[in-house]
């Protein structure tokens, strides 16, 4: 437990009625402690059932844990309590994207943009979804073509790009998927299968670099005849994975990965 978390925990213990649980829950999320974050969020909802922020926190924790149904329910409750709530609209849009339903995401994105008209990332996302929905052919082509450069440019714009970029996935320290999708050469979704292995890769890479006195690890690449896999840590608590067709040269893949890492950091900062 870090000092800030200990401090927040102590504050909550000394004043159980305070709203410090909101900050504590977020801190635990950011530290990759979903079980503890869930307890805090659930306690907050029980204590403040009419407070939108408490349901918003719970929804974020549930989304972290992959419980989309419960997360959506919590965010819908937020909107009942606080119509137009920015976080809830973004969250529901996020869930719709993840479910492969950009049409379902659009109204939430539009509501979010209404609440934050100056948010350039949201404006781009709304425009992109509208365009995609207007042109089924364009959308199909975009989905079928894993264009690395497009993926990273999208990634720099907001959270939604990772939902569309099929060749990149961001995982938390526990190997849980935060965003993105990876497809095998045969088109099947291998995001979760890879996630299960990548915590070990990250640990192994870190250990190898440290014990060989090479400093911090920056990336690991596996090149096969049918595709290249690149793993790198955009932050200390996340791992970014890119999967590309073998026709993408490895040097170019490294450049794509660097840009994707920057986009991931930006995306994580927006979420925080």
């Amino acid at each position: 437990m870090t000092d800030p978390i200990r401090e927040l925990t102590a504050q909550l213990a000394s004043d159980p009625q305070s709203l410090v649980f909101l900050e504590l829950g977020e801190a635990l999320r950011n530290r990759g402690q979903p079980a503890a974050a869930y307890k805090v969020a659930r306690m907050g909802v029980n204590r403040y059932p009419e407070l939108a922020a408490s349901h918003d926190l719970l929804a974020r924790v549930l989304a972290d844990q992959g419980d989309r149904h419960a997360a959506a329910e919590a965010w819908r409750r937020v909107l009942e309590l606080s119509p137009g709530h920015l976080g809830a609209n973004k969250g529901l849009a996020f869930l719709a994207f993840r479910a492969g339903d950009p049409g379902g995401a659009l109204p939430f994105l539009e509501s979010a943009l209404g609440a934050a008209p100056g948010d350039e990332g949201l404006a781009i996302a709304v425009q992109r979804v509208r365009t995609a929905l207007d042109s089924a052919a364009t959308r199909a082509a975009a989905a079928a073509t894993v264009t690395p450069a497009t993926g990273i440019l999208r990634g720099a714009e907001g959270f939604e790009p990772f939902e569309e970029a099929r060749g990149v996935v961001l995982l938390d320290a526990q190997g849980l998927r935060l965003a993105g999708t990876l497809e095998a050469p045969d088109g099947s979704d291998v995001s979760d299968a890879l996630a299960a292995h990548l915590q070990g890769v990250s640990r192994e890479a870190s250990r190898t670099a440290r014990l060989l006195d090479l400093g911090a690890w920056e990336s690991v690449t596996a090149e096969s005849v049918d595709g290249h896999l690149l793993v790198l840590p955009p932050t200390q608590s996340t791992v970014l994975v890119l999967l590309r067709d073998a026709r993408v040269p490895v040097g170019r893949l490294a450049l794509i990965a660097e840009q994707a890492a920057r986009a991931a950091r930006s995306w994580l900062e927006r979420l925080a």
Binding site: A184, G200, V201, E204, L212, L214, A222, E223, L229
Partner: protein
């Protein structure tokens, strides 16, 4: 083992390569090595084999074929591995500014030489 010595030498001739070695992939033990001072061959062998095995599992879980090259890039160096026949890995440790394109080429050719 003339071929073995030649194979390692063609890799270590590349500018920026600090050493090359042949490693038994399953147990991470050194079969042969040509390393610069300061590199712990046993450690390189064990760690490179373990990392490669982990990447192989990961790649195959993603529906990819067995990796032909695995590369770890770190702050102060790079580790490259390529399969070199049954249960063998050819491993190179490189400086950050090494000619990686040439190193990879030589590694693969050396691996092919060893595997033939």
């Amino acid at each position: 083992m003339k071929n073995l010595g030649e194979a390692l030498e063609r890799v270590t001739r590349v500018a920026g390569i600090r050493g090359a070695m042949l490693v038994a992939e399953s147990d991470g033990l050194v079969v042969a090595e040509a390393l610069a001072d300061g590199l712990d061959g046993a450690a390189v062998a064990a760690l490179a084999a373990s990392l490669t095995l982990r990447l192989r599992r990961t790649a195959t879980s993603a529906g990819l074929a067995v990796p032909l090259v695995v590369q770890l890039r770190a702050e102060r160096g790079i580790v490259l591995t390529v399969p070199a026949g049954d249960d063998l890995l050819l491993v190179a440790v490189a400086e950050r500014d090494a000619n990686l394109g040439l190193a990879r080429l030589e590694l693969r050719q050396a691996a092919a030489q060893l595997g033939s």
